[in-house]
Homo-oligomer: 333 residues x 2
């Protein structure tokens, strides 16, 4: 047996086949998406060089620990846990173990977990970050951010839903349904997901010739069922007029509809409501909520692909990769 | 300064105070439950021996890595993720980092994660196990099981809800509301949570003089919204008569009520439904579901307490620790 031939690496296969390392892994493991043309190219090279995938898969010939740290802000939020589940499945199919850490939206916890995971020699990170400031301490290992952009950091690799388009779609739908005074419930913190959805909201108002009314821009923290419910009760008490509410999460939308119905408003007859995320509760709640669906599978797939390239030492363009969203029409608007 | 005095360990403090290590940690961190009497005892010893808790908390004087592995079966199931969130908060307050692994109910994945976590030198495990057989390979580190008992293993330390009582409460409630033909939707696999809820169901039938009808005992796998929905559709097709359904999870109960209502049955007028878990969906669904509430906080607290004792080398009684449950009355029964 030619020992030279055994020594080809997964990275070299990727180079020879002119595809990414993640694609090679997908072909080897027969999981995820790849064309039959790509498959043939990769398999030909593997055969020609007598490559033994199982040895690489076990990390025996590399310094890799074959582990990835996933940092998430809230394990009980179905949107985040769905992404993490997808990530975990895809990483596992590539021979990687995922260690998940839940920060409960605490910056302090996030930092501690980052260092603890680093000390366990993970090969890289996928971070769904609750942090608003970039403190440069995610530079010590390959890292891909999901969902939330780190401010002032043009060096980050981010995979995010098209939140701007989502805000635009949600607001346009309400305007087309007759709304003229649309409130937005957003995050008090300066977080890109919230800010981008707000920008989309403003774009829709502008396009349809509706002036922005600052009284209708409501910032809360934390963003959840209770704070959204309280904020709507407050708006009603303050006698602020509105005929539509865009809540930037489904849980907030649920708080909004409950507050409205408790106060005697009919949804969608008196007030229309649109949420964001398309989690189960928006489908099964007593008033099914019109919402913006994020493509969890694609968010996970793109993130894993980029991380694999980073870990393999490939050149990856440092930018925000945008995943499309879509409107899901239900009964609240 | 007396160097001897500095060297007292958290374990020695526990011994001197005649309390568990976890209790000492709780007093030091002022988190969780302890009596004022216990607090005084612990603080007196700490003062007498000039104990520096922060040094222990950072693991500087021990061989501990101050990390715990949490193995969970399904991160997108709110019941599991709520427990994990509680565990993580309590472990963090004791200076521990929690690495969470999601097995997606796969035995193979669970095994791999166990070994990967072991190789990262975690101090112990809290395992919410989807496995039905005990293969003795959880013996290599201190381990506490939550929710699901491992069969044929009298050496395991398990913290579980009172599933037997839960099944009894659910079924009794339906009988008291007039049901005479109560079906149960349970797990096809032999899992203790499912089996225990079934035993409680049988006990209630017996107590009220209702004979067990095997046609009404319906086993499905996996246990979720879709399989429960299909099973009810099947029962209707097979013209099996029933006036109540006890579903062993809330997601299954939701599938049951949707199937019934699609087929023209009124809930609770024609058929009464009770679920289990008390997750958000049971509260916010279009028909709020009567359910059995598990005490997530206590499940987590007891598990962490036992694990801390195990890690500290304390003697822990190997048995199943039972946490009480309660009935939450809503509209489906």
């Amino acid at each position: 047996m030619n020992r030279e031939k055994e020594k080809i690496s997964i990275k070299q296969i990727a180079e020879l086949a002119k595809v990414s390392v993640a694609t090679v892994s997908r072909v080897i493991n027969q999981k995820g998406r790849f064309s039959s043309e790509t498959e043939k190219k990769v398999l030909d090279i593997i055969e020609r060089y007598n490559y033994k995938p199982s040895m690489i898969a076990r990390g025996l010939r590399t310094n890799e620990s074959k582990t990835v740290g996933i940092i998430m802000p809230d394990i009980t939020n179905e949107f985040f846990s769905s992404i993490v589940r997808e990530l975990e499945i895809q990483l596992f199919s590539l021979g990687y173990t995922a260690f998940i850490c839940n920060t409960d939206e605490s910056e302090e916890t996030e930092k501690k977990y980052y260092w603890d995971l680093l000390s366990k020699a993970v090969d890289g990170f996928i971070c769904i970050s609750g942090r608003v400031k970039n403190e440069q301490d995610f530079d010590l290992a390959p890292t891909v951010f999901i969902d939330r952009e780190i401010q002032n950091n043009d060096k980050s690799i981010v995979v995010a839903s098209d939140n701007y388009e989502g805000g635009y779609l949600a607001t346009s739908e309400m305007i087309r349904s007759g709304c003229k005074k649309i409130a937005i419930l957003m995050d008090k913190r300066s977080i890109s997901t919230s800010n981008d959805r707000y920008s989309g909201y403003k774009k829709a108002l502008k396009k349809f010739g509706i002036e922005l009314d600052k009284k209708l821009v409501r910032k809360v923290y934390p963003i959840n069922y209770s704070t959204a419910k309280s904020e709507v009760e407050k708006m009603i008490k303050e006698k602020i007029e509105f005929d539509g509410i865009f809540a930037i999460t489904d849980w907030m939308a649920l708080g909004v509809t409950d507050a409205l119905r408790n106060e005697g408003y009919k949804v969608p007859q008196n007030v229309k409501v649109v949420g964001f995320d398309n989690i189960s509760i928006s489908k099964f709640s007593s008033l099914p909520i019109t919402t913006i669906s994020q493509n969890v599978e694609l968010l996970a797939q793109k993130s894993v692909e980029l991380l694999m390239d980073l870990i393999a030492g490939e050149k990856v363009q440092r930018k925000t990769y945008i995943i499309p969203v879509s409107l899901v029409k239900r009964e609240s608007c």
